[in-house]
Symmetry: C2
C-alpha cells in the first residue's frame, strides 16, 4: 500500500518524525511508499494537499515563520476531525494534547480515524490508557492497525517488544523504571545533590517541566503502568487502580544511608498478574546494587518482563526525546507496512 499520512498535532514529536523522514530515503531503503498529505495543528494551523506536502519546506516554514500560514495548499484551516474525515489520508499520526483522565481530545481523533478505516500510530498516552481494548477492537473491525510504541519508553521497544517479539509468551509481571526525570534526579542525589538542586538541574536540561508534579509525584509513571497493564497484561484498569507514591519524600540522607548498605533508591513501576486482574503500583524501592534496575542511571528507562518461556527479559534505553519519540511513530509505520504488504 501507499501510505498517505496526516499529522494530527505537529509539535515536538510530530516534527521529530518529520525530520527523521527527511534524513533517510525510506521509500527506497525501507520499501516504505508514502506521502504526507495533511497537517492539522492547534497552534501552527492546518494544511491539506492531496498531491503530498514538501516536508522540508514545511519544517522550514514552521521554524522560520512560526506557523503554516504561508504554505500553499489545496485546503486550509480544517480542524483535526475534518482532516481525519475529509482528507484522503489512510494513516493518521496522532500526536496532540491528551488528558490522561479522559483521554480527550486525542481519544476522539483516534476513534474517528479507526471508524473511518484509517490506520493510527500515536504517542498519545490518554486514548490507550483509557480505552485500549475498545480501540483495538475498533481497529480490528475496520481492518486497520492502531499502534502506540511511543507511549511507554519513547522509541525503546517496550510495547512492540511485548506484543511482537515476545508474542506467544505469557507476560506475568512487568517491572521497571518508566520515568526518566525522576531517575535523573535520583542519580544526581546519588552523586550528593539535594533534591531541590537536582530538580533544578533537571529543569535546566529540559528533563523536568516548570511544574514537575506529573513526574516527581509518579503520575506519568502511573499512566505508563496503566497502559502496560491494559495492553500487554490484558487488564482493564483505571489510572487510580495503580497505587502511587512519588519521590518527593526521599531525602539525601535516605539515599546516602542506602548507599552505605549497598542499596540504591529507584522509582519503580510494576504490574503483576493476579487471580482477579493485576496488582499495579508506582513507588520508590531500595534495590540491591546487583539488581539489573539498580544500574540504570540518568534519564535512561528500563523494563523487565517476567514470562513463561524466557523467564526474565530486560530492555534498557531512552525514555524520552524528540527523535527518540519520533522514531516510535516511524517503527510503528514500518510494522504496518510489513503487515500490509
Amino acid at each position: 500500500m501507499k501510505f498517505k499520512l496526516a499529522f494530527i498535532g505537529f509539535g515536538v514529536v510530530g516534527q521529530g518524525l518529520a525530520e527523521i523522514l527527511e534524513e533517510k530515503d525510506f521509500r527506497k531503503e525501507y520499501d516504505f511508499d508514502y506521502e504526507v498529505v495533511a497537517i492539522s495543528d492547534m497552534k501552527l494551523g492546518s494544511i491539506y494537499e492531496p498531491e503530498g506536502l514538501d516536508i522540508s519546506k514545511v519544517l522550514d516554514i514552521v521554524e522560520n515563520k512560526g506557523d503554516l500560514e504561508e504554505y500553499p495548499a489545496a485546503e486550509k484551516g480544517w480542524d483535526p476531525i475534518e482532516t481525519i474525515v475529509k482528507s484522503d489520508a489512510n494513516t493518521i499520526i496522532e500526536v496532540t494534547y491528551t488528558d490522561m483522565k479522559t483521554g480527550g481530545p486525542a481519544l476522539e481523533h483516534v476513534r474517528t480515524a479507526l471508524k473511518e478505516g484509517k490506520h493510527v500510530v500515536s504517542t498519545n498516552k490518554g486514548p490507550v490508557a483509557n480505552e485500549a481494548k475498545k480501540l483495538l477492537e475498533l481497529a480490528e473491525e475496520n481492518g486497520v492497525h492502531y499502534m502506540f510504541e511511543g507511549t511507554v519508553l519513547s522509541g525503546t521497544p517496550a510495547i512492540n517488544l511485548a506484543l511482537m517479539t515476545l508474542n506467544g509468551c505469557e507476560i506475568k509481571e512487568i517491572k521497571g523504571i518508566v520515568n526518566g526525570t525522576t531517575n535523573y534526579i535520583l542519580t544526581k542525589m546519588e552523586e550528593g545533590m539535594e533534591y531541590e538542586e537536582a530538580l533544578k538541574k533537571a529543569q535546566e536540561l529540559g528533563y523536568a517541566e516548570a511544574d514537575p508534579t506529573g513526574d516527581v509525584e509518579g503520575i506519568d509513571a502511573q499512566g505508563k503502568i496503566e497502559i502496560l497493564s491494559n495492553t500487554v497484561m490484558d487488564a482493564d484498569i483505571e489510572l487510580e487502580d495503580v497505587s502511587r507514591e512519588g519521590i518527593t519524600k526521599l531525602t539525601l540522607s535516605d539515599i546516602e544511608e542506602a548507599k552505605k548498605e549497598g542499596y540504591r533508591w529507584k522509582l519503580v513501576g510494576s504490574t503483576k498478574k493476579t487471580e482477579s486482574g493485576v496488582d499495579a503500583k508506582v513507588s520508590p524501592e531500595k534495590l540491591p546494587l546487583d539488581h539489573p534496575l539498580a544500574n540504570v542511571m540518568g534519564p535512561t528507562n528500563a523494563l523487565t518482563y517476567t514470562t513463561d518461556y524466557l523467564d526474565e527479559v530486560t530492555i534498557i534505553g531512552p525514555g524520552a526525546g524528540k527523535k527518540e519519540t519520533g522514531f516510535a511513530l516511524l517503527v510503528d509505520l514500518l510494522f504496518i507496512n510489513k503487515m500490509e504488504k
Copy 2:
C-alpha cells in the same frame, strides 16, 4: 494462511517447540491456524501425514520408544530433502545439525525450502552465518520469509529486536555477552572458584558440553557475532573475519585483581561499522562495575545496540535452553502469520 509445518530435525529444540505448541491453544488465542504434517529426523526417523500429526502422541512415542517407528503415517522414511520437496508443508522448521564453516547440511535444507516457495524458521547458525544475504534474497524472490531469531540469544529478542522493533534505525555497533557457558564460568570464578572447577560445574548443569572448546575458546560467540554482522549490520564477512580470544587464559587471580579495582572480566563479542565494513571481535574485557554488561551474571546473555535515533538500547535475557530456543521458532512463526494475514 493455514500453516502446514514440517520439522527438519526433531532434537531438543524441535521438541521444545512441539511442547510449547501443546501448552496453549495458539489456534484460538493467537489466531495461528496450523497443522504439523511432517517430521524428518536422522535418529528418530521420518513421518509424513497430510491430515496432520498428533503432536502429543508424537512426543509420547519419542519419549517412551526412542523413535517414530510406531507412529502410523501416510509416508515414512523420507529424508530431509524429500520431506521438504514432496510434502505439502508450506513452512519448514529447520533444526538439524550444522557445520559452522560450511553451513551444511542445514544450508541445503534452507535453500531447497526457499526455492520451493516455503517459509523457513530456523535456529541453525550455519546457514545464516554463511549465506544470510543470498538466502534472504532467495526468500524474497520466492515470496516467502526466512527467519532465525533463535540463532542468537535463543528466544530473547535479538535479531527481531534489531530488524523489527528497531527497524528504521541505523545500527552502528553491537556489543554484548552472547555465550552463556563462559559467562556462567566467569560468574563462578568471581565467586572464588578456579577455572577447572567452574567448568566442571557448568558441565554438570548442562551449560557446557563434554568438549567445551566451542564455548571457552569463543568459537560459539564468534559465530553469533558473524551472524549479527551479516544480518543486522549488512556486512558480508566470514567466521575468520571475527578476531577471537576465549577465556582459557584468564586465571582466578586475574579475576580477583580486577574485582579489587572495581572491574569485572567478561567475554565480550562486538561488531562495529567502519568505512570498509565491520570491525568484529570476541575477547575478554575488563569492564567497570557500573557498565550495563558487567552486571549480567550466570548463563544470562545481553546485547547493546548503538543506534542513530535511540543511542544505546540493551536487551538482557536467556541465551539458551529447550523452551527458550523453541520459543524463538514460535515467535518467528507468529511474525510470519501477522505478515501473511
